[in-house]
Symmetry: C2
Subunit: 566 residues, 2 copies
């Protein structure tokens, strides 16, 4: 491709609204352009990378035995009403009316459409198992689109759905996808972890997220420094065992703590370690009040509350509710003397507190020398807190550390969530109807491209892994007015194109401009045709190394094959 007429405009300045490196570099290197908040065009250079990632995904999907199909973006509201998600999904679901005022969703995902396809066309155990996938633009009206194509409102996604006779089959389909995903992200040159995650609004059971490690990631991964344990902090289980001190229980006392509302304030005011404090928070779980207790140095995990209570919706109660139910406000509430109709749940760590501190359910007062099961009772002790760095790993091996991650893939065991609500069944060997057992699997294709840039760049630009690079070789004559340089450059362009994808900088620009653009683009190998062109010698520089080599043009093809590993 000749660069003079290739649409690959570079920007020297960092666009002011681009906060993260991948966003900055993708704009500066002319890979993407914004049309509206969270809505982007892929320019030719960006699309070439997107297609490479797409093809890696397609190859791995096909290898796993999945079949590609293509469903529409426009989805009838009726299907979403059948599954119950039309009302549940909220403002992220973009809704559109046709000229007859019929309602449609712009597909953010395709569980409904695929389940309706399958229920019509699959009816025998003989056709199962089956996994179907598509690669397609998806729409989600993000509350806060940002970071360029990392969190956008229209994005390319690979979504797959597996259909099995039973959970054993699902486990196998899930395993295949998990492995295919691992291959995809490995081939894309990403440093990633598959972590246990929460199934969220999708419904379903087991689920893993594929996280690309990056400090700008919006998710936090808790992993063991000594084992393969890794989970999203949202869901990571915490070891239930805590050491209890031998201290003798003292008599309960009430003490004035004027204006001391936070754990830090109270601990400092009373000269106590935060570990002695009992943090009490009032929630509503499906409308019922629940008082949740964790240790002062811990944080409540509301996803865990939801799971423990099997509740659909858990939210923090307001100040007014605290006052009316417990007689006080946040900062001074506590478990002692709580009315019977309020469920009290405590984290395992609370059980080990001796002579602790909690709110007195009276403004500006706390209780000291509080002892669980003596001064208050608890419905049950559960795992209710967020895991923390330094915690023992839940698998008993090593200590927990945190890293930030960008979610690029997600595998779910849906089970019969959709096949039951939408009546997708098959007839087994005995002619009996059984619900199809489903899995759902997604890869953010455009987000993966951004994640690659986050992990592969330096101060000068992108450093593409060869497998996803837009071109293999960037061929740069220093000065096209020099006949020998021009001749060698044209000759190399003609020859190398037969085996490699070559971007040829045939522009009448200064060498400095050409090299700056080249570093920005990040094509794996740069070939500079300069002063020694007359001798047939050119300079070869891999983008990911500092050193340059002088190579005779006759040996160039071999050098390139080595560098590009082909």
């Amino acid at each position: 491709m000749k660069q003079s007429t290739f649409l690959s405009p570079t920007l020297r300045d960092v666009p002011s609204d681009a906060e993260v490196k991948s966003h900055q570099l993708m704009l500066r290197a002319g890979l993407i352009r914004q049309s509206a908040a969270g809505v982007y065009s892929f320019l030719p250079l960006g699309l070439k990378v997107l297609k490479k990632v797409e093809n890696i995904i397609r190859e791995e999907m096909d290898l796993s035995g999945a079949q590609e199909l293509l469903m529409p973006a426009i989805q009838p509201a009726e299907l979403w009403q059948e599954s119950g998600r039309w009302d549940l999904y909220g403002p992220e679901l973009m809704r559109v009316h046709d000229r007859h005022n019929r309602e449609f969703a712009l597909g953010p995902t395709h569980e409904e459409v695929i389940t309706s396809l399958i229920r019509d066309d699959i009816n025998s155990y003989k056709r199962l198992p089956m996994t179907l996938y598509q690669i397609q633009s998806k729409f989600r009206d993000e509350r806060r689109p940002r970071f360029g194509i990392l969190r956008s409102r229209e994005f390319l996604m690979k979504d797959a759905y597996s259909f099995d006779r039973d959970y054993e089959g699902l486990n196998e389909s899930y395993r295949k996808m998990y492995e295919a995903y691992s291959s995809v992200f490995t081939r894309c040159g990403l440093d990633f972890r598959a972590v246990v995650a929460d199934s969220g609004a999708m419904g379903g059971k087991d689920t893993h997220e594929f996280m690309v490690l990056s400090e700008i990631g919006e998710d936090t991964i808790a992993y063991s420094n000594e084992s393969s344990f890794a989970a999203n902090v949202e869901i990571a289980p915490v070891q239930p065992d805590y050491e209890k001190s031998n201290e003798a229980p003292l008599a309960l006392e009430k003490t004035e703590t004027p204006g001391q509302k936070t754990i830090e304030d109270v601990a400092a005011f009373l000269h106590k370690d935060a570990k002695k404090l009992i943090k009490s928070m009032l929630f509503h779980a499906d409308g019922e009040p629940v008082l949740v207790l964790v240790r002062g140095d811990h944080e409540v995990n509301d996803i865990k509350i939801k799971h423990v209570l099997d509740a659909r919706m858990v939210e923090l109660a307001g100040e007014n509710e605290s006052a009316s139910l417990l007689g006080s406000v946040t900062g001074f509430i506590g478990p002692v003397g709580v009315p019977d109709h309020i469920t009290v749940l405590a984290d395992h760590a609370v059980r080990s507190i001796v002579n602790g501190v909690c709110g007195a359910n009276e403004k500006d007062y706390h209780l000291v020398n509080v002892n669980p099961d003596r001064d208050f009772s608890v419905k049950s002790y559960e795992d209710l807190r967020l895991i923390q760095e330094g915690d023992p790993s839940p698998d008993g091996k090593g200590t927990i550390e945190f890293k930030q991650g960008i979610e690029v893939g997600h595998v779910f065991k849906l089970g019969t969530r959709y096949s039951e609500s939408m009546k997708a069944s098959y007839l087994d060997e005995n002619g009996k109807a059984q619900p199809i057992v489903m899995g759902s699997y997604g890869i953010g294709v455009s987000r993966t491209v951004a994640a690659i840039v986050e992990q592969h760049h330096d101060d000068n630009g992108i450093i593409w892994p060869a497998a996803v690079a837009p071109f293999d070789v960037h061929l740069i004559p220093v000065n096209l007015k020099q006949d020998d340089q021009k001749e060698v450059a044209e000759e190399l362009y003609a020859e190398l194109r037969r085996s490699f994808d070559v971007l040829y900088d045939d522009r009448a620009e200064r060498p400095g401009v050409k090299f700056k653009d080249s570093d920005l683009y990040g094509i794996p190998v740069r070939i500079t045709v300069g002063k020694r062109a007359g001798e047939g010698i050119v300079e070869v520089k891999p983008r990911n190394r500092e050193e340059k080599m002088e190579v005779h043009k006759d040996e160039l093809a071999d050098t390139l094959k080595q560098l590009l590993n082909v």
Copy 2:
């Protein structure tokens, strides 16, 4: 691919709502499934064909020097307001609000988005010419979606846009696209014509439609039986020369024609040839009244009126307006005595009428022996009528015949329609800003698939041209319970897969079912493993021929290469 777990469900019955063959066969062969009116999924077999067509298009686009990019489906309303199309486009444009109540269009085409991209990133003559294309789902809320994917509301389209310094450049870019389109449709095995067409709502000048000949086509092509002339009847010019009879002009008379309102009625009532009658129709062109005259046996072409008057909107006047402006109603209006403020335009054919008949502008009366330029005057004689079968070809060679066509492609010279309204300019050698001269080019990718089926089928199913077939070979063992058949079939499946794309019918179905499905699918070559399997002999049948051949399995690869032309 093993058929037992391949999602390719066939239907024995013709779906009741499928009117045309391609729709029926694509449903029956399991290529597509409907989600809503005009909204379809492509099942794996259909997607394979779609991808083949897409790849042919991509190859031809790349060969022509066009660069692929990908723009978003969601387009900000502001861009459409800039171009002026937000209000013009009508209900076909699907509009959507985001959570902040900002308005967006779901892209039916991308002139606005690409023009805004280009104005930001292209500013020098050095970067021109350039042609960009994308292959993407488009959205048009058709008033009457029908014929399956021939006229649907979400469909795959290839759209391309060229950018040039001047019209000479545009002509060259247009020529390249025209040639690329011809190659695409030829490679897809289509019998098509490139016809001159109307530029319609797109704005712009020269334009050709690529029409696949088919009796179900919604467009009518006027073509010469002796030359390469072909045009959409909407636009086809008519030869302006008509023979005038030598008859002596007679005196104008008024005659009673009670209730005789149509041309046929009046001609019969007065015993006149319809060619003697002058058909008079009152239009509003951008609000101004225009009386248009054509010969009784001709039809007015309002697109031509629009062009002659350079009007934005031309519509037939209502009965009340005829009455108030001309003193009578449709059926009895005519050009004699028309007030000066009404423009009178006549088709060339009217000039040759001698002693004609026209409405008397009085209910139930006509005038006879009317002679143009004696009894009424005309602002100008123009080409104002629809071409008809039997007319001489406008290029002077041969006679016009009609055929129906399906529009699969369209090339437009837009000129500066968008670059002027949206301010996309470049600096020329002298540093002077000039508007970029644009072209716009589209191919209906999914529609092309349907058009292929319309032209390639028989009573039993589809007959895919090899270049777009979902598989090369359909391998069918008659009875898998026979060990020798099973053994040969499995061996052939393993071997042939190395060079061909093979669908292997490994289902435990009766041979009749397998052959019926096979004919429906229309894979170019069927290999039947039957009774002579033990001798290593199988039956080969090309889908497009009646004869079967017995071939030894060792010679099979050669036979296939010959049949598939690879």
